[in-house]
Symmetry: C2
């Protein structure tokens, strides 16, 4: 490790934004930047000013609205165009106008790209790099250079690729980042090329990988092992095609497997929470199996493991999940049977005897419901209701009875749409009726339900419907299939989910709504309530 | 590479079945096995007979119902219990009763696990391995041994770990599979341990990795590079926690980066299709960014790349996607602007001039709709309708007009639920009305729509609603948010999707239904229709 501290460089807001399904407003980008900063990354690439209007706006607002405690903000852009004086190139001007302490230039280092894509000479390309770097260094910026298609370029013409590195370093670029832009490399090649490039040029190198061979993280680790002092990645590995190197995984690996403080080690414990918060901002469905931060990363299912886990968690975990702010979870499923139910119950704060009749009953009930399409993996609240019922031996006294409900959606000839729901309930045999409107059947029923019940049960007021998903089960036809509806709620600080299954999608939603209400109305102090952080991400 | 051909070993149906959200019936398992066989894998681990009832049933039915052209079927199970004669151990009997040509035994190779989890002596564990392997070899089976927790065990007590390998090999096990059960290793360690183990024992080794450090595939490649002749993995990397090594990625890498025919090279072109078919069977949402097989693996978005792609696709792709049965796709989004629209249009078979006014208009319209929540990435049909409108310069003559629609869902006090929809339309100014029932608002409206229109447009009869997803956008409250509904249809052999966005979830669904009807009713021969394979997996 060189004297300089390691440079962990995040490009979520630029390269990561190529991720399908991700559209960030400028507000979102500023919020993501704050979360990344709180994690302690060294550099945040905010975007491509001049080329992407939203990014120009981001840098403008960042000047006054973004206060970074750990990271330096970087603007990304291309070298000057062929044949244009650097001071007159509008792209370069836009880079300077972004007013960031760091500028990262992307340049071609592959002769094929210089000729076909840029349509210029190899010599002019080198001049473009040298003059642009010098110009920006002279303007007082720290400059990094992304050598695009480096590994393919090195394979095709090693001398030219090394020339690019040398020119950039001599012109004052602090770090030359070797990019496996097409993502086709494997770790051994990455390591060899990085080592050779260091030996041949003496430059400080960085690494930027893509996941087209499923080795982006390993490639990044190989480069660092070979001497790179800078690693780029994106949150959750967001990016085009197969994505970029997953920055969270790289950070976890560097810290916990290499003892390398790529970011502030004291902040590693916020890794999982950072993942969840960024997921909520980007709207890209989280991957429950993501290393370190995934909702399932430390989730055990097999009956075999569950019994060993009760003895010693370290037998089956490569690290203590608390180190990255995650927790061990167990899944209830027919694979785990009794052991899984017991572990899950303990996790929720209940005392269940190993091998007891109650846990056998609960396991059997879970199995039967699962065969009908239920899935409790994203519906801890529904599971807990079921568990309590089996532990008690009989269903609890219901806080209210449902007589009937109805919802209709009508679009009139003038195009106006109205959604109206009505529910008829009984609380202590007192009949209640309430109506509700909403932006759909689920929302309208939820509104009516609250109108009827909140006066009797004030604690329901804090219950908020946050998201829901409908999945059509059992076959591919729209009719005759069952639907599973998973609903997520916010209850003060906590988020949890319920599930409902029925042939009818609205009935399935209704069941999930009722579970949520019953869950909030549990009248005793539920053990462990608030102490167990429940996963906010959808598990499946 | 040794004289023996490489052993590619799939454990989707056993280790992969720990995947959250995956529940396979025996029929499903048989179907998955057939698809894996068609891909040419060498071995298919069908499950754990005796321990998992569904797996016992699988092997029973496989005897008569499963004809494998390439793979050998393997049964998985544990060595005999401590202190029990191998011929009397019911687990071992179940393994033999499964009647498979191959049996894979799992055994402890980590002293900590032998003592804490198995609660026996180190010597007895070795005896359990030796006697069970010998017993099964004597019964005429090919035996593989999974050395569980090998790398952790080797780190803790190298001599004992090597002893396990030697005992198993001497007893007749053909391949000893070193398992990184906790998934905590990085490639360099894997490679070193595999190399040392081969040098110390001379045994034929396999590798079984998990993805807890994001390096399962790289670890597998490192082991093969160090001399392993057998690699295990699961389809899509299914598995507990962070999953197993992704067999599709490993297969692609071995074939295309190492020139190693891990499976029949002539079958590699069916990789992407195999992925889609297995996804439909498992119900686990596919990962569009999966290497080689993902819907987005060769999908380009950025405007920069789109213009270079038009010149030479190989500039931005590490392999020709056709080699794995995938295709290059381009996304329409505001990032790509005109170039992306043009590429997409050409992909769909339309001729669009570069830089034309029409493509600029289409790009602008996409951008505007996206800002309102639309996403065309899983809705090729909706995009094509939009494109045709912009190319024509004006909206087409609509085949029908909508006057009004309505749907209601009512649950009576006896618990019965009824869903009724009615639509009022006009075809050539002739007013039509129709009603429909269904298992939810979308299904009922779809039924009513067909009742009204199928008599006039018989081609609509083949249109079938297959699946739909509702996503609540823009913030976390159930009210005031917009909803985006993506609907998938089957139209004869083809599957495609439409999208609708509205504040009201049912209105959003209605828009998506109308788009589907209009798409089928396009009255000219649409260019490229049927020629372009549209992705069946959801892209986001």
């Amino acid at each position: 490790m060189s004297e300089r501290s390691f440079q962990l460089y995040d490009t979520t807001l630029r390269d990561g934004s190529q991720q399908e399904g991700m559209v960030l407003t400028v507000d979102d980008k500023l919020a993501v930047a704050r979360h990344l900063d709180a994690l302690g990354v060294g550099f945040i690439e905010g975007g491509w000013p001049g080329a992407v209007p939203r990014d120009t706006e981001f840098f403008r607002r960042a000047r006054t609205e973004l206060t970074l405690a750990h990271a330096e903000l970087a603007a990304f852009g291309a070298t000057r165009r062929p044949g244009v004086a650097v001071s007159r190139d509008p792209q370069v001007r836009a880079l300077l106008a972004a007013d960031t302490p760091v500028i990262t230039l992307v340049a071609k280092s592959h002769t094929g790209h210089v000729e076909s894509a840029l349509r210029t000479t190899l010599a002019e390309n080198l001049a473009m790099i040298g003059s642009t770097v010098r110009h920006l260094v002279h303007a007082g910026r720290r400059v990094f250079l992304d050598a695009e298609h480096y590994f393919d370029g090195y394979r095709r013409n090693r001398a030219y690729a090394l020339e690019v590195v040398l020119i950039a370093a001599e012109a004052g670029a602090e770090t030359i980042v070797l990019c496996d832009t097409n993502g086709g490399c494997l770790p051994d090649e990455i390591g060899a090329v990085v080592a050779d490039t260091i030996a041949a040029t003496g430059a400080s190198l960085g690494i930027h990988c893509h996941d087209d061979t499923g080795c982006a993280v390993a490639n990044t680790m190989a480069a660092v092992d070979a001497g790179a002092i800078h690693a780029q990645g994106t949150a959750h590995g967001y990016g085009e095609r197969c994505g970029n190197a997953n920055l969270f995984t790289v950070l976890g690996n560097l810290a916990l497997k290499r003892g390398l403080a790529a970011a502030d080690p004291g902040l590693l414990g916020s890794l999982a929470a950072t993942s969840r918060m960024i997921t909520e901002l980007t709207g890209v469905p989280s991957d429950p199996s993501a290393p370190y931060v995934g909702a399932s990363a430390f989730t055990h299912k097999a009956g075999l493991h569950a019994s060993a886990l009760r003895i010693d968690p370290d037998l089956y975990q490569h690290i203590d999940p608390e180190r990255v702010g995650n927790t061990m979870r167990t899944l209830v499923s027919d694979m785990g049977g009794r052991s899984s139910v017991e572990l899950k119950a303990r996790e929720l704060g209940y005392t269940v005897d190993a091998g007891s009749e109650e846990s056998a009953r609960a396991a059997a009930r879970v199995k039967e419901l699962e065969s009908r399409g239920y899935s409790f993996e994203s519906a801890d609240a529904s599971f807990e209701l079921l568990l309590r019922e089996e532990l008690a031996g009989s269903p609890p006294e219901p806080p209210f009875e449902v007589d009937s409900w109805q919802v209709s959606v009508a679009c009139r000839s003038n195009g106006e749409v109205g959604t109206d729901a009505s529910v008829r309930l009984r609380v202590d045999d007192v009949p209640l009726a309430a109506t509700g409107q909403g932006n759909g059947p689920v929302n309208a029923l939820d509104t009516a339900l609250h109108r009827a019940l909140d006066p009797f049960f004030p604690q329901l007021a804090r219950l908020e419907l946050v998201d829901y998903r409908v999945r059509v089960l059992n076959g591919e036809t729209g009719s005759g299939a069952a639907a599973r509806v998973l609903v997520q709620f916010r209850d003060g600080e906590r988020r949890w989910g319920t599930v409902g299954v029925d042939e009818n999608t609205v009935t399935a939603s209704w069941r999930a709504l009722l579970d949520a209400v019953r869950y909030v109305l549990l009248d005793d102090v539920r053990p462990g309530r608030g102490a167990v952080p429940l996963a906010t991400a959808w598990a499946g």
